[in-house]
């Protein structure tokens, strides 16, 4: 096995689950997510130098996966599965707290740009800087999208009958 092959395999095992989860979250099904995953690492194999020199490899990979996703969605005119209730990935969810499922629906109602940055931050644990690098947007835009998303979710939570703080403590 050459050094490049070993490096690619290492990158795949380290970041593959992240890319797959990101793609699955955006596409709503695992089959398409796996195709995006393979395409992403094919792109990495073709540009190992870019991968090595990226300031954040995680952000670089998410950026590539995102481009592939956009291309696929445009080409195949796939409708993004907005409702996680019909998402096989999301179905393995939390049966303990019904508020969590309600929150999922609230997140799905957010504008796509806000939901994307929120997912990258809370689900994939990317920093604001990494998100900015992945999406090629200024860090201030990341910040304002997150603020807007959280404000909307908080508003939604306040509109519901049960106090949010009580629900999360159960």
């Amino acid at each position: 096995m050459s050094d490049s092959t070993a490096e690619l395999t290492q990158a795949y095992s380290e970041y593959g689950p992240l890319v797959r989860a990101y793609a699955a979250g955006r596409l709503g099904n695992l089959h398409d997510a796996d195709e995006v995953l393979q395409e992403t690492f094919l792109a990495v194999a073709q540009n190992m130098a870019g991968f090595r020199t990226a300031s954040s490899q995680k952000a670089w990979l998410i950026g590539i996966a995102r481009n592939i996703l956009r291309h696929r969605l445009r080409k195949l005119t796939l409708r993004r599965t907005a409702d996680l209730e019909h998402d096989p990935v999301a179905r393995s969810t939390n049966e303990i707290d019904p508020r969590v499922d309600d929150m999922k629906l609230a997140i799905n109602r957010l504008p796509d740009a806000q939901r994307e940055v929120l997912e990258l931050r809370l689900k994939h644990e990317c920093s604001y800087e990494e998100i900015a690098g992945s999406l090629h947007i200024p860090i201030g835009t990341v910040r304002s999208r997150i603020h807007a998303a959280v404000a909307s979710l908080k508003e939604w939570a306040e509109r519901t009958k049960e106090p949010l703080t009580t629900a999360t403590r159960t």
Binding site: M1, S13, R20, A90, I107, L122, A157, L164, T168
Partner: protein, 169 residues
């Protein structure tokens, strides 16, 4: 501090995106204004619930598929030595080469204006002709000749440097 700004700072603090100084200031604000505590609590609770909702679907049950053999084949064809050279080194090498070539080409070049300018050649032809006819063209040619007859050689030491007047020819 208005309510909106406070909420933004609380969100950034919860997500670990505040600088130490800002965080210390925010802590002081919260200490001095106890009525802001419920706001902070609601922000924390919202983010906690959103994290749980998003992470609930984090790990797909199916194991990661094996890496595509095509990717492996491409990677195998690209040894590290050929791809590891960062682009900035290549740019630096190109710049050095450019300056080196520029230095080699910078030997002074003399251009004799009086010999190279077509107008002056025509002027000479007119002056040499037996019929010294007055004309605008001749006047123009004479003015050029007057101006350039003193200027002699132009020293052009580099393509990017300003030309200098040299010794008279």
């Amino acid at each position: 501090m208005n309510h909106e700004t406070l909420e933004r700072l609380l969100i950034d603090r919860r997500l670990g995106e505040l600088t130490e100084d800002t965080e210390a200031l925010l802590k002081e604000v919260l200490r001095l204004a106890p009525d802001t505590a419920p706001i902070a609590e609601r922000i924390d609770a919202t983010l906690e619930l959103a994290s749980r909702a998003l992470r609930a679907a984090k790990s797909p049950a199916a194991p990661l598929p094996p890496l595509n053999s095509q990717s492996l084949a491409i990677a195998a064809k690209r040894p590290i030595s050929s791809t590891a050279l960062p682009g900035r080194f290549a740019i630096a090498a190109a710049l050095i080469l450019t300056f080196w070539l520029g230095g080699r080409m910078s030997s002074p070049t003399s251009i004799s204006v009086s010999d190279r300018t077509p107008q002056l050649q025509i002027t000479k032809a007119i002056d040499a002709s037996p019929v010294n006819v007055w004309s605008l063209g001749q006047l123009a040619a004479r003015s050029v000749q007057t101006r350039t007859s003193d200027s002699a050689n132009i020293q052009w030491t580099s393509p990017i440097a300003r030309p200098q007047l040299g010794a008279k020819s």
